[in-house]
């Protein structure tokens, strides 16, 4: 069997639309793994504030600090899904607040399109969340992470884009 076919079969889709990966139950002890891309100037500071304010949020998120939401290439998102993320949070400064003036406006256009496109490829839309979270919004950061974690817990593991090494 070619690797190609093996991968297709592993994804469960070679047999047709009726039996697909989502039907497989989550393994025992599974916890959602979420990658959060946070801009340096707002969201990362917001996450920091959540911490220093002792606001609790689920440890399921792994934050990756980037200079600006404009830096977050949608390829990063697909790569995260490929390497095992069950959900991805993309977050940056509110429109108008960008440290670099306009980075988040570009990001907004990009993700209006990318979220729809990734959904079109068969990823559940709930798995990719985009949010503007400022440096003073520690509570919003914690709430966003909590909500996202619960949504993904309900969906189960992400297998659609995951690699089969």
């Amino acid at each position: 069997m070619s690797v190609n076919e093996k991968a297709a079969q592993a994804a469960g889709a070679a047999t047709g639309p009726s039996t697909v990966a989502a039907a497989t139950p989550a393994p025992e002890g599974w916890e959602p793994k979420i990658i959060g891309f946070a801009c340096n100037w707002c969201t990362y500071a917001g996450a920091d504030l959540a911490g220093t304010s002792r606001i609790q949020y689920p440890p399921n998120i792994r934050v990756i600090r980037v200079p600006c939401s404009g830096r977050i290439n949608p390829q990063f998102v697909v790569r995260a899904f490929q390497r095992g993320a069950d959900g991805v949070l993309v977050a940056g400064c509110h429109p108008g607040d960008c440290h670099y003036s306009t980075g988040n406006y570009f990001a907004r256009r990009r993700y209006l399109l990318a979220t729809r496109f990734i959904e079109y490829l068969g990823v559940e839309p709930e798995r990719l969340e985009v949010r503007w979270i400022s440096g003073s919004e520690g509570q919003k950061f914690a709430d966003t992470v909590r909500e996202l974690t619960e949504k993904i817990r309900a969906l189960g593991p992400q297998r659609r884009l995951r690699e089969t090494l």
């Binding site: 069997m1 070619s2 690797v3 076919e5 070679a14 390497r83």
Partner: protein, 344 residues
């Protein structure tokens, strides 16, 4: 010994085989008929001229895992062996001929390719003679024909409402005597030979147009010809011709490692790609399309026959003729080099 098998019995046999090994057969999906793993005979397409992809996908797959390694302070290596038994059904004479050509490269000589060898041993090849050669087929150019059995273990010929069958190897005879027991009936030898002859003499119109005789010798002195400049200009440098070709066999080896675990795999390479044979230093002995296009056709029509004696590295399956986006294919090159203008 010639036998016959009824279509229903053939399907029963294939279903039975699919239970304990991987059954590979022509199957139509979204308008493309290609060789792919199927679960039962119901998924098999019987009405096709040739499949879009060849048996190469299953004997020498596009990417193939070779070994896993762990580097957590120590180093441990685990070899991956392609041990699963497979049976390929519905192979056309061009693909059956291609297996013999690939064998020379990967099994002949001092060293043999272990993975290819394993797959070859684990695969039963069931051929199916061509009823309707496509208008891109030219197997007769190389002396093959629509009934050519090549590397087949069992060869089938559609004969009216049944199939004429011939077991050609021990593996083939084991199939007939084992899983196929009771499904095959003895055939009338004389009538069977007549059916085989009719297939062997079937008309392949495009094959008549393309005459390869002596091209290896002409090409000996053709390396520096302006011709390669002229035709390579229209190549777009995609890998279609090499990837659908049943005999192209260039590959590259890559390691991928993350978190102390890794995988070594090989995957096909294509001489049409700009980074083919590009070295780590950045130097590339085939820097432009001209050298790359020339490489492909010289390899098929000159280097291979010179090295392995006689046969060309092409079986006239016509896939590149049909699929090259810019109509730059081996039949045209043969015509051009022999002085019958085919490419502008």
């Amino acid at each position: 010994m010639l036998m016959t098998i009824a279509p229903d019995n053939l399907k029963n046999l294939l279903d039975k085989l699919a239970r304990d090994r991987l059954l590979v057969a022509p199957s139509m999906e979204d308008g493309v008929t290609r060789l792919k793993p199927v679960h039962s005979a119901a998924e098999i397409a019987f009405d096709y001229s040739n499949t879009a992809t060849s048996i190469k996908d299953f004997l020498f797959p596009q990417s193939e895992d070779l070994l896993r390694f762990v580097t957590d302070g120590t180093l441990s290596i685990e070899e991956i062996k392609p041990e699963r038994a497979q049976v390929a059904f519905g192979l056309r004479p061009c693909d059956l001929a291609s297996v013999a050509l690939m064998d020379k490269v990967l099994l002949g000589g001092e060293f043999s390719d272990a993975h290819y060898q394993t797959r070859r041993n684990n695969t039963l090849l069931i051929g199916l003679a061509c009823e309707n050669p496509a208008d891109t087929c030219f197997c007769t150019t190389y002396g093959y024909n629509p009934g050519w059995a090549g590397a087949a273990d069992v060869m089938l010929y559609k004969d009216g409402d049944k199939y004429l069958a011939e077991a050609l190897t021990d593996k083939g005879r084991e199939l007939v005597g084992g899983p196929g027991e009771g499904l095959f009936k003895p055939a009338d030898e004389a009538a069977g030979e007549a059916v085989k002859k009719a297939y062997a003499e079937k008309d392949v119109p495009f094959g008549k147009e393309v005459d390869v005789q002596g091209i290896d010798k002409i090409l000996d002195g053709f390396f520096y010809d302006q011709y390669w400049d002229d035709i390579s200009k229209k190549c777009i440098g995609c890998g279609t011709c090499t990837y659908v070709c049943p005999t192209c066999h260039c590959f590259l080896l890559t390691d991928e490692a993350r978190g102390g675990q890794g995988l070594r795999f090989r995957c096909w390479d294509s001489c049409m790609f700009a980074n083919y044979t590009k070295m780590a230093s950045g130097a590339n002995p085939r820097p432009t399309k001209k050298e790359r296009v020339r490489q492909r056709f010289m390899h098929k029509l000159n280097y291979y026959p010179n090295r392995y004696g006689g046969s060309y590295l092409c079986t006239g399956c016509g896939r590149c003729v049909a699929m090259c986006p810019v109509g730059l294919h081996i039949a045209g090159v043969i015509k051009d080099v022999k002085g019958v203008k085919a490419h502008a």
